[in-house]
Every structure is written in structure tokens, then in C-alpha cells.
């Protein structure tokens, strides 16, 4: 036996190693490339990837604060069945058993998956394959239904396939961009900045914005048309008319590459006597309308850029086709700087469409209409139970859950309790459903609270897989850090359940690249190239073909360079633009004109109602489960609000900066009134981001009528008649807290801070006069400071734990007070000397110099006051100068429109 010898050899120097990976931003459909630096299993820095074609190195404020959303706070760490932590085995078999039993008893259509545009393509592929090929139902839908279904269907009708023909570069080479139903300045900042930069470089380029609301994008437009909500198809039908009248049609192109033009034109003509009638229908001045039409007609390179404003409508598909009609009629499509460009809201909505993750799709741009396509997929998958008919679309799907037809649902990576129309009905549906499985990363999302089985999923930075952005660019997200607890990647979770269901052989994946290869192979499987001029009757063909990647090595996959599909033998390097030669993916290779009867939204407002429009604000993304964590993102607009026209404000007795209540379908939305002429009379705007986790009643979707597009089932989010009235607060105030709490006030709204949370509060009950209003929220605190008056007009409370400020509440019946909470926020969690801590009750630093005003530049935390003072002092005469002096606007640039406004 040898002695153990202790040497004093040093352990390797504890230099924590940093690694940098190229990955992608998970937030919006722009799909920016990122370089992320990781240290100690944490992303510590991100910057734009200069080589990524989507962003060429830039990032918006959401992307550039990605690392701040990191950290495992509030993550789900273990699988749970009925609230009890269990092993993965038990969770997986519980899910499998329930699904199996349900299917055995009620058939495959009694189960459903509800997926998300935030899943990676591989996750999507496996889920879709399991449901449609092996369970035998097409009840797989996704939240992309809420955002992209209309555009997808419009593409298919016009081009024969769901294809975005152009790419981002077209937005910089176009001579005119028509932005309709989109607010890219807020929703797609990087793409927007590219457009603006192109215009700066060549000021003859025009940006025309068509939007009922004067958005930040509209403010910077060369021409802005405040059309009546929902009248978009009137606008484009009118344009078609105008083009015909003015002889601006490209008859050659129409004849050679299109069909159905006459009928489309006649239909448009049948709706309007003349262009003046169009102006009336759109409720805009004729001269403005003509000016915009003229720009379209006389500019060679025109792109129409559209998004949710078009898609989220009861006639979203028609609107999409009305747009495409005009581009076909002028041949302004399929070449550099011209086309109809639909941008997605979600990072991987496109990827989901590619695998066929919508219930009306089968797989890989293959559909149910054609039995050859079903057969093809069946053979490729060797599927025992291939679905043969379309499944239920999102709204119908949750209806079926509600009515009990669907008895088991698996929701992955999405928050339908917040995002679906009539969302309170979704809550009830989930309450009733015998088995709700939720794969999720974060605790206490509104949907997790309704789950029977909770499966902890990995998230951005932890999981690897591919995504496709809005211009068909496929990128791969890297796995850079280890997921916390027992969290697993979604594809693994699904694969495990597939195994438990007895489909081991078909789901034998060890690595996402295995799935990716299969997906790529399917796209090329028996794909007779659509552009070949010789095609057989029975040939199944699709543009979506990435078969050149079917044998990609793991190393290549892990070092994937972004590339636009199709990627096949004909186009091994991908393809920037599609349909360049006027050959389309239809049977006869001609694009279809679709005759459109423009229609207003189906449900019109009653006498005492207003029309609620909804959308994103600049720095938030979706339902805030991720961005709501970052303090600086919340400083820009930190409360749900209701933008109202001054006349409506008068009519409904609403006061600026006070709260108002919207109601519809028995649900309420409480938000702060923002009186603005940017809003048309009779129409209000509300942001979609807030949910039960962030505000008392601000789930817009709960007020949205479940009216969907008759073709694609996408709900009409942009047009809901609702009632509106003042909220009539008795008092208002705020609470700064190091922990999250369940506020009991009639109104509250939560804001993430660096150190904790801020709640803005209002109540219709009397303001109390002691700490009891907080005591039950903080049962462990017994060290309170209270400032009050004896008329219940003023109340301030500070709670301490170990002499550290834990919470601070301030309220007043003077509703006009504006609270400045910066100072007190900074005091949170700090130890305060017991003898002077009462000074905190002022909420102010005694030198009073903490107020920088409303936050304008979220990146550098530069407020309105600071900016004004700097300008007034004469130091800065331009946005650029401000940037040099204060740095505002120099990082993400998304505040530049607001900075410009200081100089006008």
C-alpha cells in the first residue's frame, strides 16, 4: 500500500473563464444576431453580431438588456403533479397515461397541444410530429395563430405557398415603404432603424405610414394617413382602382405571371364609384389619399410592410391579399426593393409555420387538402396514425376545451390566459379541463396557475435549436449555460412523453441536430422543385426546402451561419429573394389575384362605446414574463394606459392621468388615461403587455371578442367595441417593495425595479390610517414607520426588516399628485440608521435633486427633465449633440423619435 502523499500543488488558478457565443435574440421577429459572453454559468454581456444579416451588429434596448433577464430567479425547478414536486419519470408517465387514457376513451381529437412562436424549430417539429403523425389528431395550434395566421394564409392564396418573398435588404433599397398596421419603431426597432437610416442616406426615399393611431412610426413618416380602423382593405382596393384608372398597371406582368386580375379589379370597382368614395370609406382627406396613391404608382421600388394591424382582424387574410394584389398588379414584387413584406411578431413564428405547427397545416409546408401530401408525410414519418384533416384553430381549440370536447391539453411556452381573446373564458376552460399540462420556465405565470402538471423547461441561453426570422433567415440559438434545477429542453420533454406513449423508435433523438436533419430531410422529401417548368399533376412541391442541410454535421450545426431558405441543391447558399422570375408556387405557376370585398370589422361599436385597438409599446415584449423583469425596460411606460382622444375624454368624463375602466364580456381593463390627439375620435388604444402578474385588470385579451378571420381563424385583436368610464379612485399611491406581493387594491400595476418591485395603486375604498393595509402582505414585518393625517387623506408606510428598508408605501387622496419614486427605490434593501430613517418618509433625498423626469432613454436612464435642462441651457441643439453630451439615444436608438420631438 502506498502512502498518500499530500503535495501543496495548487489547484488550477481560479480564473473564471469567459466564453463568447454567437446566438440570437429571442424577443421579436427581427431575429437579431447576438454575441453573448458567459461567465460562471451566467450570461454577463451581450452585443450585436456584426455578421448577422438581420441586424448587422445593432441591438435594440430589449436585446441589449438580455443578460439582465438572466438569473434563475423565479424559475420552476422541478416537475410538479397536482402541486407536488415529482421526478421526471413520474411527471412524464402521468402525462403519457392521461393522454393515453383520454385518447383510448374519447379518440385522438380529445387531446391537444398549444404551442408557441417562442419554441425553437426542433421543439415544434417533435411536438407536431407526435400529435399529427402518432397520436393522430391535428389539434396542434400555436400562439402564432394570434399573430401570423392571416399573412400565412394570404401568402398561400396568392403565391400557392406561405412564402415571404423578400428580405430585410429590400427595406433599405426600396424608394417608398408603405407601413400599414405596424409600428416597427416600437415593435421591430432594428428593422425600423435600418429603414430610417436608408432614408437619411437618400432623402428622396419616402416612408408612408397608414395607421389609425399616430404611433412613433407615424410621427417620423413623410406622409401619414390616419385611416379609420379596419379600413385597410378599402385603402388597397382603392389603390388597385387608382392604378387601373391612372394606367399604372403592369399589364405585361399581369398577363405573364398572374391570373384572376379582371375579377379582382371588378370586385374592387363594384365597391367604389370613385376614389373619393374610398377616401370616405377610409375616413381620410382625398388629397392625402391621392398623394399616397401617387407615391405608390410612381415609385418603381415599393415595399408594403405590414404586421399585426393587418393580421389581427376578422378579415386579415383578405387584407393581406388586397395588399398583394396591388404589388402583383404593378409587378412590384419579386425583385430588389419591391414586395409585400409581412413581419412576424415572434422570434420563431416562421419556424413554426415551416414545421407545420398550425392546426391547418400538416408538416413542412404540406397540407391536408391533397391526399398525396398526407401520404408523403405518412411515409416519411412511418406514421401509424397520421392525421387526415385539419385540427382546431386557437380560438376553437380553447372553445373545445371549454365545452369539454378536449379533455387534455398540453401548453408549451405560452401564456394563453393572458394572450387569448376573451381570456377569462380561457381561465374557466382550463379550470374545467381534466388535464392541463404546462411546460414553462417561470413560476406563477397566469397560465401555470391553472396547470395540473407543470414541466420545467429550459429557456434562452440554455437550449439549443434553430429559429427562422421574418425574412426566412435560419439561425441557431446556442446552449451556453446550464438550466437550473431539473429544467429540460422542450424537445426532450416531448420526446420523453413520446417514448412513454410507446413511440420510441420514431423519436430517437439524442441532440437537436438529429431533429434538424430530419426536418431538413422532410422538406426535401419527394419535393419536385416548384420552379422547374416541368411538373406532373401529382407532384408535391414546395418552396420551403432546406434539404441541403439534411446531412449537416453536429459541428456545422453548432457553428451555423445564418442563411435564408430555400437551401437545396439548386440554392446551396440559400436565396435572398423568391419569385424573382415571376414563377409562383401554384399549380400553374401563376400568382393569384384574389377578389376582395373590403369589410369593416364585424362588430361595430354601440352608441356609448369606443373601439379598442391594442398593440405593443416600445420596450416590452409579449406578456412581460421576461422583459417585465428588467428594471430599465419598465421606466419608459410603466403602467397600462388607455390613449383617448380629447373629445372622447370629454364625452366620458375622463381626466388625463386618472384611471379609467374598459369593460366587455364581463371583463375589465383598468388603465391610466392618456388624452392625446394621436388617437382618433371614438377609438382608444391599449397596450397588450400587462397581465394578472403585472396589473389588477389589464389583460386586454379578456375584452377582445372571440371573432376570428373566417379563413385562418386569427382573432380580431385590433377592433373591439368596449364601454369606458372613469375609475373614480378615492386615493392613489405607490408601493416599493423588495418582494413581490399580492396587492388587494382595486387597481394596481407592478413595475420591476433593480432592487424589487414598484406597484402603482389606486383604490375605491377609504385610505386607512395605519400599517394594517400592508401588514397582511408582509406578515414577517413588525417594524413599521407610519406617516398619516387624521382625515385619511395622506398615508405613508415604511416597513423594515433588520433595519433594511423592505417596503415603502405612499398614498394620498389628492389624485393629481405625481409621485417621484427614484430616490426611495434606491433606498430599498439598504440599512438606514434608526435615528434618521424617518426622513425616508419624504420619499425624497433632502437635496431634492433626484428627479430626472419621465424616462426617455431607457438604456442610459436619461429623463425628460435632464434632457430639457440640457437643451434649455443651450448646450445641445440636435439629437446628435444630446447623444454626445448625455449619451441618450446612442445605444439602441429607440428613443430617437422622442428626442427629436424635443426640437420641434
Amino acid at each position: 500500500m502506498t502512502d498518500i502523499i499530500f503535495t501543496d500543488k495548487q489547484s488550477p488558478a481560479s480564473v473564471s473563464s469567459q466564453t463568447t457565443s454567437k446566438t440570437n435574440c429571442p424577443y421579436c421577429g427581427v431575429g437579431c444576431g447576438i454575441e453573448a459572453t458567459v461567465e460562471n454559468n451566467k450570461v454577463i454581456a451581450v452585443k450585436g453580431n456584426a455578421e448577422h444579416p438581420a441586424n448587422l451588429g445593432r441591438l435594440c434596448v430589449k436585446g441589449s438588456s438580455l443578460h439582465e433577464t438572466q438569473g434563475f430567479h423565479n424559475r420552476i425547478l422541478s416537475p410538479r403533479v397536482y402541486g407536488k414536486n415529482v421526478s421526471w419519470d413520474e411527471a412524464t408517465s402521468t402525462v403519457a397515461k392521461h393522454f393515453q387514457d383520454t385518447i383510448a376513451q374519447y379518440g385522438p381529437d380529445s387531446v391537444a397541444f398549444y404551442l408557441s412562436g417562442q419554441l425553437l424549430t426542433e421543439d415544434y417539429y417533435v411536438a407536431n410530429k407526435l400529435m399529427k403523425g402518432f397520436i393522430g389528431s391535428a389539434n396542434v395550434d400555436t400562439n402564432s395563430r394570434l399573430c401570423m395566421a392571416s399573412a400565412s394564409a394570404a401568402h398561400k392564396r396568392a403565391f400557392g405557398e406561405d412564402v415571404v418573398a423578400g428580405c430585410y435588404e429590400d427595406l433599405t433599397s426600396a424608394d417608398a415603404i408603405f407601413i400599414i398596421g405596424a409600428n416597427p419603431a416600437y415593435a421591430h426597432p432594428i428593422v425600423y432603424q435600418r429603414m430610417i437610416k436608408a432614408r437619411e442616406e437618400n432623402p428622396t426615399r419616402k416612408i408612408v405610414v397608414i395607421d389609425p393611431r399616430k404611433t412613433a412610426t407615424a410621427k417620423d413618416a413623410d406622409l401619414y394617413l390616419a385611416i379609420k380602423p379596419g379600413s385597410d382593405a378599402y385603402f388597397y382596393n382603392g389603390l388597385l382602382l387608382y392604378l387601373a384608372e391612372q394606367g399604372k398597371l403592369n399589364n405585361d406582368y399581369i398577363a405573364k405571371h398572374c391570373q384572376g386580375f379582371e375579377q379582382a379589379l371588378q370586385t374592387a370597382q363594384s365597391q367604389f364609384a370613385d376614389i373619393a368614395a374610398v377616401a370616405t370609406a377610409c375616413d381620410i382627406e382625398l388629397s392625402l389619399l391621392l398623394e399616397s396613391y401617387q407615391i405608390f404608382a410612381e415609385t418603381d421600388n415599393v415595399v408594403t410592410f405590414f404586421s399585426q394591424g393587418i393580421n389581427q382582424s376578422s378579415t386579415g387574410v383578405d387584407k393581406g391579399n388586397a395588399i398583394i394584389n396591388c404589388h402583383l398588379a404593378t409587378g412590384k414584387i419579386g425583385r430588389e426593393g419591391a414586395g409585400a413584406f409581412s413581419i412576424t411578431g415572434q422570434p420563431n413564428a416562421m419556424g413554426g409555420r415551416e414545421v407545420g405547427g398550425l392546426s391547418n397545416q400538416l408538416a413542412a409546408h404540406l397540407y391536408f387538402e391533397n391526399s398525396n401530401e398526407i401520404d408523403l408525410v405518412k411515409r416519411f414519418w412511418q406514421a401509424p396514425n397520421i392525421a387526415t384533416k385539419e385540427g382546431l384553430k386557437a380560438v376553437e381549440l380553447f372553445d373545445a376545451v371549454h365545452s369539454g370536447k378536449i379533455k387534455a391539453i398540453w401548453i408549451m411556452a405560452t401564456n394563453p390566459v393572458v394572450s387569448m381573446p376573451n381570456a377569462n373564458r380561457i381561465k374557466r376552460a382550463l379550470e374545467k379541463c381534466p388535464m392541463v399540462v404546462v411546460s414553462e420556465c417561470y413560476e406563477n405565470t397566469d397560465t401555470v396557475n391553472y396547470a395540473d402538471v407543470v414541466l420545467p423547461a429550459s429557456t434562452w441561453g440554455e437550449k439549443q435549436g434553430s429559429v427562422t426570422n421574418s425574412d426566412r433567415t435560419i439561425s441557431v440559438h446556442k446552449s451556453m449555460i446550464k438550466a437550473p434545477g431539473e429544467a429540460k429542453n422542450d424537445w426532450q420533454i416531448i420526446t420523453d412523453v413520446a417514448h412513454a406513449l410507446g413511440f420510441k423508435d420514431a423519436f430517437n433523438y439524442q441532440h437537436p441536430v438529429d431533429i434538424f436533419r430530419e426536418h431538413a430531410a422532410l422538406s426535401g422529401f419527394e419535393n419536385s422543385h416548384p420552379f422547374s417548368y416541368k411538373r406532373d399533376e401529382n407532384d408535391v412541391y414546395r418552396v420551403f426546402d432546406i434539404s441541403a442541410l439534411a446531412n449537416i454535421s453536429q459541428a456545422e450545426y453548432e457553428n451555423f451561419s445564418p442563411i435564408k431558405w430555400p437551401i437545396n441543391s439548386a440554392n446551396p447558399k440559400g436565396l435572398k429573394r423568391i419569385f424573382t422570375d415571376g414563377i409562383f408556387a401554384t399549380k400553374n405557376q401563376k400568382a393569384n389575384f384574389i377578389p376582395i370585398i373590403a369589410q369593416l370589422p364585424r362588430k361595430l361599436p354601440g352608441n356609448n362605446q369606443v373601439v379598442m385597438n391594442s398593440g405593443r409599446i416600445r420596450d416590452q415584449w409579449h406578456t412581460m414574463t421576461r422583459t417585465g423583469r428588467v428594471a430599465k425596460l419598465m421606466t419608459h411606460s410603466d403602467e397600462p394606459y388607455i390613449a383617448v382622444n380629447p373629445d372622447d375624454a370629454k364625452r366620458f368624463q375622463l381626466e388625463d392621468k386618472q384611471l379609467a375602466v374598459l369593460s366587455n364580456l364581463g371583463a375589465e381593463f383598468i388603465g391610466r388615461v392618456n388624452i392625446t390627439t394621436e388617437q382618433r375620435n371614438g377609438e382608444i388604444f391599449v397596450p397588450i403587455h400587462w397581465n394578472d402578474n403585472f396589473s389588477a385588470s389589464a389583460r386586454v385579451s379578456a375584452l377582445v371578442n372571440p371573432i376570428s378571420d373566417y379563413i385562418c381563424g386569427q382573432p380580431e385583436f385590433k377592433h373591439s367595441p368596449v364601454n369606458i368610464k372613469p375609475f373614480n379612485s378615492v386615493w392613489s399611491g405607490y408601493l416599493i417593495s423588495s418582494q413581490a406581493v399580492n396587492c388587494q387594491t382595486n387597481y394596481w400595476s407592478k413595475i420591476q425595479l433593480e432592487q424589487g418591485h414598484k406597484y402603482l395603486l389606486s383604490d375605491q375604498q377609504e385610505l386607512g390610517d395605519d400599517e394594517s393595509i400592508l401588514a397582511n402582505l408582509y406578515p414577517t414585518i413588525d417594524d413599521w414607520l407610519v406617516l398619516k393625517d387624521d382625515q385619511q387623506n395622506v398615508l405613508r408606510i415604511a416597513g423594515f426588516i433588520d433595519n433594511k428598508l423592505h417596503c415603502f408605501f405612499a398614498a394620498s387622496t389628492n389624485l393629481d399628485l405625481e409621485f417621484n419614486t427614484r430616490f426611495i427605490e434606491e433606498q430599498l434593501n439598504k440599512t438606514h440608521p434608526i435615528k434618521t430613517r424617518f426622513k425616508l418618509m419624504s420619499g425624497l433625498d433632502s437635496d431634492g435633486k433626484n428627479d430626472v423626469g419621465t424616462m426617455i432613454c431607457s438604456c442610459f436612464q436619461i429623463g425628460e427633465k435632464t434632457i430639457k435642462e440640457t437643451i434649455e441651457s443651450g448646450q445641445c441643439k440636435s439629437v446628435e449633440a444630446l447623444g454626445e453630451k448625455l449619451k441618450c439615444g446612442t445605444n439602441c436608438g429607440s428613443c430617437i423619435p422622442e428626442l427629436k420631438a424635443f426640437f420641434t
Binding site: L785, V786, D790, I834, K835, G848
Partner: protein, 447 residues
Amino acid sequence: MTNTPSPTADRLTNQFSESVTQLKPLLVIIGNGMATGRLLDEIIKRTPNKYQITVIGKEHFGSYNRIMLSAVLAGDATIDSIMQKPPAWYKEHSINFLSGSLVTYIDKKTKVVELASSAQINYDELIIATGSRTAEIPAKNQDVEGIFNFRDIADTQKIQAFAKQEGSSSKQAIVIGGGLLGLEAAYGLAISGVEVTLVHRNKWLLNRQLDKVSGNMLQSIMAQKKIKFALGHEVASFENTIESNAERKVKSLSGVTLTNGEFISAQMAVIATGITPNKKLAEIANIDFNRAILVNDYMQTSDASISALGECCEHNRATFGLVDPIWGQCITLAERLCNNVKKPFQNAPVPTKLKVSGVQLFSAGDVEVSEGSQCFTLLDKKALIYRKIIVKNGKISGIVLFGDVSSGMAYFELMRQQITVNTMMPELLIGDEFVTTIENEQKVSAA
């Protein structure tokens, strides 16, 4: 015996006079307390030679700082250190100083005062500054040894002697009265190791200066200093033991029985329930009086040659218990006597402070709310900090600060000047610096 003041060089050189009294007007002051001390300074500052001054004091000392008796009792000061005017000082300033002399009579017709010794002193101008004495309490059996007042050096020395007494193993004292004086007495005794129980009629301490919350806070701080409390009750009777020694029977205090029947054992009691102005001389002399000797705005009594000053006087229905307004009286009187200038005395509320180490309090104006007032409070139970401002008709009508008295004077000024403060609330309550901020901001935005 007629008092003939010793002639001064001054007088002797005055060839026109037969009698010294005719040379310089005779100014006689009865009482040598704090008011007198200050008045002498004010007179000497103005006209050191105008009067022939005589000061007659009952106590055996020059003028001293009575306020500091609390500190003496607490061991923070000595009798020597609080002396302000030793006998030599009077000499230096040619002032006749009769210490240990009690004035018993004033004859305003002949302008003479008479001492207990029957000596008589003429005056041209007479000032009564006899201060006040401990108020009496209605308890039975007060002729017992061991019951003390807390008013002057003699009282203080007696109390101290008891506290330092060797032998008796447990020393217990009752302090009666939970006002400023009682608290300071209790504190001083407790500090010297006596087991003190403070008996106070009201439910909380300093009930004239503090509300219930701050009164209770004060109690909890005093309790930390080992003082016990019997609140809400009065002393019904003193109890005693009888010891016979060679000469006589001695009734020594053994405790008190309260109005609720409770018995508290003690060998000493200090009465500090309040003060009674010493107005007896005025009564005898037939000068107008009410609760105290009535004076006009120039400190003159109903007799033009007689003035009154300090705790023994009453001005516009107010009597006095703190030195601050008395200083104003001294100035008014000195102006009139020396310069013949009529500078009316204006009484102003005075904020209260308590001289107990570790206790900070500040109180002025109303303590409790009244009809139409709005009351702002800030309470930190753990830090024992409490701040309260009562606003009436937009102006401050009352201030109570406990535990932290910062900004007290600023509030006091705002109250005194009757400045409208409602827009400053509640920030003002936290500190006037926050209001400056507000005002500055208003200026900025107005500009």
C-alpha cells in the same frame, strides 16, 4: 432699625445732597432668582450708574441658574458650577445685596419694604421678583419627614442628602407629578440609585406638552431608566412610621396611599405637581393680583412705582413657568427704568424641552386636535420617534416632536408667523429641508 446703606464715594462727593437717597433713585428688588439675575445684567448694560440698587433675596446664595438644579440632582453639575453671580459680583457693581433676607411687607405709601428682621428699606422703584413655589397637593398627613420640594438649592441638597444616605439598604422615593419638573427629579433620583415611582394624575406623562402616543414613548424611555410609574392616580395620603428619639417623636415617611387605595412604600417623596406664584406681598400691599401679580405691557403693577417680573407676575392672563418669556420681561423693564423707553412685552408661546439625557422632545402650541383642525403624524415605534403637526385654517397650531426634534424651531417660526403651510404638508412634518425643496421647485417652475 432703619437700613442705611453704606455710603459710596459717589455719594459723598455729591455736594448738593443731604441724603444719599436723594442723590440717586433707589431701586429695590425683592427676590434674587433668575429673573433678577438677568434684569441686573440688562440694567448694568444700559445705565450702570442710574440707580442705587438693592437686591433682597431669601436664599443664601447669589443668583444661580435654577434650571440646572436638575443637572445637579442627576450628578451632571455641581452647585458651584451653576452659580452665576457670587456675592462679590454685587459688590463689584455697587449693588447692595441682602441674602438670606425675607421681605415681609411693602408699604407703597411710604415706599418702604420691610424684612422679616423688621429692617426697613426705602425705595423709589420697587421690583417684585419672588418667583413661585411648589404647588400644594391635597393629600393628607403632610407633616411627615421625608417630603421635599424641588425648587431651590436647599431642596436639592436635602434630596441629595437623602439619596446618598448611608445605611438604609433600600432607598425608595415617590415623585409626585409627571410634568417636566417631576420627570427631571425622578430621573435625577433614579440616576443616583434610588428606586423611584412617579405618581401622575393623568394617564400619560407631560400631558400638557405631549399626546398619548408621545407620552407613552416618554414613559417607555423613562422606564428603561428604572423608573416605575403609577399613572392616572393621585396621592391620597402620606403614611408614616413613628420613631421616638431622645427629644421628640419623629414621623418618618413610610409610603403613600393612592386614590385607588394602592400603597407604595417610600422613604422620601418629592412634590413636583406644579408651581404657585409668590404673590403674597402684593396681597398685603393691596396691589392688584389675580393668579399672580398683575402687570401691564411694561411690567408695571397697579402701583406705578412697583413692577413685577418672572414667575410671580401675570400678564394678559398668562403666568410663567419657563425662562424664555422672562428674558423678554427683563428687557422691557430695563428699557423703561433705564431709558424711559416703552417697549411693550409680548408674550409668545415657548416650546418645551426636557432635560433628561436620551430624551428629545419639543412641544409647542396645541397638543390635541380641535374642531376643524387636521393633524399629521409620523410614528417610528422602534426608533421611538414621533412627530406631529396640527394644522388649523392652513396654519400650524401645534407641534409635538418626540425622539427627534429637528426642524422644531422652523415649525415654531412658521407657527409664530402664522404662515400658511397646507401645501407643504406632509413633507414639512418630515423636515423643513423638504419644504425648501418644494419651494425651490415651485420657483423653478414659475420662472
